[in-house]
Amino acid sequence: MRTAVILLPGLNRDRDMIAAITKISGKPPVTVWQTETEIPNVDLIVIPGGFSYGDYLRCGAIGARMPVMEALRKKAEAGVRVIGVCNGFQILLETGLLPGALMRNASLKFVCREVKLEVTNAGTPFTASYRQGEIIRCPVAHHDGNYFADGETLARLNGNGQVVFRYAEGSNPNGSIEDIAGIVSEAGNVLGLMPHPENLIETAHGGTDGRGIFENALGLSDLAGAA
């Protein structure tokens, strides 16, 4: 399977992401610079975390207007799987590929620690190997992870099962509405999440809780085909 990682100036989790994808898929991802107008044919496109354009204007706002994002939109509409982590999630929201917005943490503090996530929809292409309601560990590191959407959007997200991860057991680190940590698009092929599953994919990391997300997305887990 082939993968691509989108690169923008100011991202800083790109190397972690490339290392994780290489380890899991057995092949390094193609890297696609922000000014490219086409993304090669791949099975999974990932936007890593960081601070593209220094979070100027709003986190992810400038990056979301770069030429590569139009190519990403076409791929997403064609059904290619897309994952945006942290700043990647912020960018997906700013492009409109996912609904809602991410705002400054309610505490106003940058949070860098491990949280617990509840898998609230195990029926997506990204979560098929997890159990519904399973609690997994995952690190977060962000200043703007406070998810917000209006009541109508929240009702739609809940009704469609688009909320995939919620902060569990009182571990909401940022004030996110309804403890939302990650959502998928209505079609289900675009995932955005604040936590960093790429940092928990091998035992040397202290756990492998995040590995399944990538294995599922790439069809490498036994259960992924069922989703």
Partner: protein, 82 residues
């Protein structure tokens, strides 16, 4: 040339932790009677046109496409100089 001022504010009902922190700091400085404080952004934009209608329509498009995130923010466009 046209000069415009765009003010972007958080919609009512959207939590503004930064505004709250500023509110608290004003209290710390002993300013009495400060109610709610909401933080926003100001953009001063120069446009190479004298056509007011075109300027307004361009500025509104700029707000919709980039300057404001209409999920959480409102914007107001004011032409300050023609």
């Amino acid at each position: 040339m046209t000069t415009a001022r765009i003010v972007v504010t958080l919609k009512n009902g959207v939590l503004d932790p930064q505004g709250k922190a500023i509110e608290g700091a004003l209290g710390t400085l002993n300013f009495q009677g400060v109610g709610k404080v909401r933080q926003g952004k100001v953009f001063d934009v120069e446009l190479d046109t004298k056509d007011r209608a075109k300027a307004e329509s361009d500025l509104n498009a700029m707000c919709e496409k980039l300057l404001a995130n209409t999920v959480i923010e409102d914007y107001a466009v004011e032409i300050v100089e023609e």
